[in-house]
Each structure stands twice: as C-alpha cells, then as structure tokens.
Subunit: 352 residues, 2 copies
C-alpha cells in the first residue's frame, strides 16, 4: 500500500503528460467532432444535453458553457433521476446526449444514455474506461486516456475530461487541429509550472487553513465549474464544509456563511466573469474573510499570480483547479487524513 | 421597525392563505397553460428552459422535474451567464423560456428572457411583481400573489412559486381545475398543521443545533430542490455552512464532510426517491451524524412524522420545506441574528 496522498500527488503531477496523450492521439476526438458536425450540417441538431455526476459533472458544466460560448449551441444538463426515479424518457431526439464519466459505470448515466438511444438520438460518451457500459452503449466513445486513476479524489481524470471536451468542441467549431494542439502543448508547459508552484505554496496554505471548518469558492461561468470542483476536492479529502458558487448565486445567500476568518477562494483569472467575482470583494473583506485570489495578475504574489497571463479563458479552467488540488492534498495530510482513500467513499459510484 | 424574525415568522405562517389566493384567482395560471398547450398541440414545442437564481432557482428545479415527470417534456435550466458574460444568444426558438423570480428585476434573467424573445421563442414569467421588467417583457405573466415579502429570507414567495408552477403544469397536463384546486385546498389545511407543529419543534431543534457550524441536507429529485432551498435558508439566516444535495451526488464527496455530530437532514417523505436517500443512512449513522429524517411516517415522532402521509409526491415539497424554514428562523434568533435582515444581503438581487 502506498503512503497517504502518494497516489494523488503522482496523479496531480502527471496531468500535463495526460493532456499531451490526448493531443498525440486525437482520432476519437476528431471522430466525435465529425459525428456532431454531420448532424449540425444536416440541420438535425437542436442542442447538447450533458449527463454526469460528481467531478465529471463539473467538467460537463465547463463544456456546457464552452459549447454555448463557442458554438452558440444550446447546451443543458440532464437530470438522470427522471429516467431512473420517475421512469420517464424525456429525450429530444434532435439533442445529442453527451455522457461524461471517469468509470463509465453508473447505472443512472447508462439509463439516461439508453433513453436517448431509444428515442433515436445521437449519443457520445467520454470515459476513462473503453470497456465500460457507457463507452459500449454510445454511438461514439472518446477515451480520456488518463490511465488508471487510483486516488479516490479525481484529479487527472478531471483535467483530461476538460481537455478532451475542449478539443472536441474546438474541432466542431472548425478550429484547425494544429492550432488546438499547439494551444494544449503550450498549456502543458504552463501546467508544469503551475503544478510546481502550487506544490510549493500548498504546505503553507494548508497550515493557514488547518483549523478552518468551512470554505467558500467563487467563480463565474467557466469559473463556477472550477469553484464547484475545488469545493468537492476540499470536502472529500479534508472534510471541510466547502461549497462552490457562481458569483451570481453567491449574492443570494451563501455570502452570509462568510464570517471572520472564513477562507474564500475567488477565481479571477478569466477575463470574462472576472468583474462579477471582483464585485464581491468589498463585501468579503467587510466580513473579515480570509480572501485568496487565484489569478493571473503578473504583479500578484502567491496564488494571485500563479496562473499565466496569456492563456485563453477557454483553457484557463484546466490550470485554475491545480492550486486547489494541491491544497486539498496537503490539507488532508496535515489533518492526518489519507486523500487517496477518504473514509467511506469509493472510486466508482453506482447510482440508480 | 419590527422585532428580529417577526417578518419571517408572519410570512411562514401566512403561506397556506397565499396558496389559496392562487386557487381563488387561477386566470393567469390558466392563460399560461393555454399558451403552452396551444404550442404543444401545434407540434411547435421542443421543451422548457427555466431561468432563475437563488430561492427561485430551487422552485424552478422542482418545476423542471415536475414537467419531465408529468408531461414527459424535456426541461432544462438556463445558464444566464451565457447571455450576459459571453453575449451569446443560444435560445432554441422551439423552447419556451420560463423565468421565475420574486422581484422580476434581475438583469441577467431579463437578458435571458429577451434573448428568447429575440429568437421568436415563447416566454412566460412567474414573478411576485406584476410591474417588474420580467413581468412586462414576457408573453405571459403569472403573478405569484404572495403579497409583499419583507423578510430578506424568502419563504412565502418560494411556496407560492411551487404552487403556481404546480397548478400551471397540472393544467398543461389536462388535469381538471376542480381536482387541482381541491388538492391545493387540502394541502393548505395540511400546511397549517405542519406550520404549527414545526413552530412547536423548532425551538428545541435550534437549541440542539446551536453550536453546529455545518449541516447537510439530502433529498432526491423533487427532494433535491428542497434540500438546496433548506440549505440556503440555514446559510442566509443563521450563517451555518449548510449545503443541499441530491442523494445521487452526495455519494460523490459531500458525505466526507459529515463527521461526528454533523446535523444531516434527510427528506424521505416522497415515495419516489425515498429509497435513494435511505440508502445513505447506514453510512451517515456510521459517521456519527446527527440524522434528522423529515418524513411522513405515521409512527414517526418529531420531524420523521411531521408530514401528512396522504399528500402526493408532486405536492409534498411545498410542505417539506416548512420545518426548515421554522428551524432557520429559531436558530437565527437563538444566535442573536435577525433572519429578516441578514448582514449584507438584500431582498432584490441584481446580477449582470
């Protein structure tokens, strides 16, 4: 058995290599893009519906925003309970059902994809296991190529999902493969730096947060997906009562949970949406919050300048999550917990 | 100025009367139903898209499930940031945009509704203010008839939204008005009992939770909306780090935030989805959680039996939230906070 956190540490570190694996073998991504482009060209596509749970749900929310921002295509999140709890098939056959799942094994996602198939709708699955039921049931399968993920806390499978979904939607949008591949290669270089710097900052940050019982994470649009994924990491590894919010929703109540000393992580790296997060800062400081900006300010020290200033908003979420992954790891270790094996959580979640 | 919590207490108490107001004047609900039925009959409707924030977002999630379960019609949640942050119009003109908002004044919801109109899509607004921009911009407006809501913590406007959305979707489904009205009248009677019993239980419960820093609320499908709304009430009034989850998502990490003594509220009143929540109980007890079932067990004492056993799942969410409303009120008062005026929160939230 490995030492506590060893798996998560390795899997955080290897992320840029896994992104490059997707660039090295983009056949499945291209096939999935062609599949969608054919249907778009034929005027037979009204939108995308993503089905996912947990960490993969956050990757799917990123893709939901990207599809809408990049393609102007309506994109919604499925409610898998409708298929399993209410036994209703509500799939619009003109929508493409896109399932995103590390394991590809959860019964509710399989049921949702099957209901789309039963209606004759197109289906695509992004999973890390090519032999999984979801992969086999979908018209097109895109393997995440993340390799076995052994820590229960998902890290490399999350960013592999972001990269695969990004490459897919850019290809659908008609961006030349060469340009997209170059973007990901540059991102991988940046990724190594962010991972190294995050690992350097995380122990001190974990020390500072050691007694924190709660935390808020706030972003907007793409950044809201990052905020929710970051909160999940802190919850599952370090048992913090963390929650992630869109800046738009934070004003509707969650801010009231911020009291003196509450750690609040604000994702301000993206040009779009940044103003919306920054607008909350006076209130957060007024409440005495322990505010941590995660951004790309060239003059910013620590987390505020940890992200490169020249990465497009559409790719920044892949890097923005890294400092929180590192923090979740170090915080768990500092608390004597094993982030690779959180009490009572399993790697593959089977929900009916 | 009223005493702390006085407004919220009154507004919780008057809820059944406000539901009856909607029954007494169902013209707007019927007009909205006819508007949708016409488009369904003409084969020009591919689904519903709900746009809402905060408490109203939870009412909209309830309606999203109800539309799918009752009508078999695809129903999605809009992402208002796409219109305001990315400036993209992604509305499918065959979808009906349904905005739900107490104030009807938030710029992002107005922008989302306007983008649907710009595409020629049908629009409906449920708001409490007939003169609000949302009400004026929509093809059809359904007033919530909740009367002025003066406490910042929304209670009666939330259940009025649930009732109005319920009546509307039942009418679209072709349920005779007389039967629906009778259901709501019976519900109002049950509501008075649940409100009285909740008020009786809440002070002791608040005493027990006085030192709780965090809480989890868990439901499934309809119950997931209740869980999220309950968490928001506890957060905004009592500054608890509360979060609400679908039982399906709770297994993906949030359970790790449950430690010895953590209060966990489980919504088990609905027949559908109940098994999914109950399946988590062994794990919750194993973690030493302070589990509170909110259900309709005739043998159950306290919250476990607070709901009537003979109310349909489709209406139970209107009652299930009441015990949490009362608890949020009493807990805030016990902590010396004013739930009517939480620090730094405003009644009308304007998000761009």
């Amino acid at each position: 058995m490995t030492a506590p956190g060893e798996l998560m540490r390795r899997e955080i570190a290897e992320q840029p290599d896994r992104w490059l694996d997707l660039v090295a073998d983009r056949r499945a991504v291209d096939a999935a893009a062609e599949f969608l482009r054919d249907r778009l060209a034929a005027g037979r596509l009204s939108g995308l519906v993503f089905a996912a749970r947990g960490t993969s749900d956050h990757a799917a929310v990123y893709a939901q925003y990207l599809a809408q921002a990049l393609l102007g295509l309506p994109a919604a999140m499925a409610t898998p309970s409708v298929a399993t709890v209410y036994g209703r098939n509500v799939h619009d056959p003109n929508s493409c059902l896109v399932a995103v799942s590390q394991s590809g094994a959860s019964p509710d996602l399989i049921a949702t994809l099957e209901s789309a198939r039963a209606r004759g709708g197109p289906t695509i699955a992004f999973t890390n296991d090519p032999g999984s039921p979801l992969a086999l049931a979908a018209d097109v399968h895109v393997p995440l190529l993340a390799g076995p993920e052994r820590s229960v806390a998902a890290t490399k499978s999350y960013t592999a999902e972001l990269i695969a979904l990004h490459m897919w939607l850019r290809a659908v949008a008609g961006d030349p493969a060469g340009r997209v591949d170059a973007d990901i290669r540059a991102l991988a270089e940046h990724g190594r730096t962010v991972i190294r710097r995050s690992a350097g900052l995380a122990p001190d940050l974990a020390e500072r947060l050691a007694d924190a019982d709660r935390a808020l994470l706030i972003g907007r649009a793409f950044g809201a997906a990052t905020a929710r994924e970051g909160a999940l990491k802190l919850m599952e590894t370090s048992s913090i009562a963390a929650s992630g919010w869109s800046a738009a929703d934070a004003k509707h109540g969650p801010l009231a949970a911020v009291t003196t000393g509450t750690p609040v992580f604000c994702f301000v790296g993206e040009r779009t949406g940044r103003a919306s997060v920054e607008a909350l800062l006076p209130d957060l400081y007024g409440r005495g919050a322990d505010v941590h900006l995660i951004g790309n300010d060239p003059e910013g020290s620590g987390l505020a300048g940890i992200l490169p200033p020249d990465v497009a908003d559409e790719l920044l979420p892949v890097l923005s999550i890294v400092p929180v992954q590192s923090l979740a790891l170090e915080l768990a270790l500092r608390k004597g917990l094993d982030p690779d094996r959180p009490l009572g959580l399993t790697k593959v979640t089977r929900t009916t």
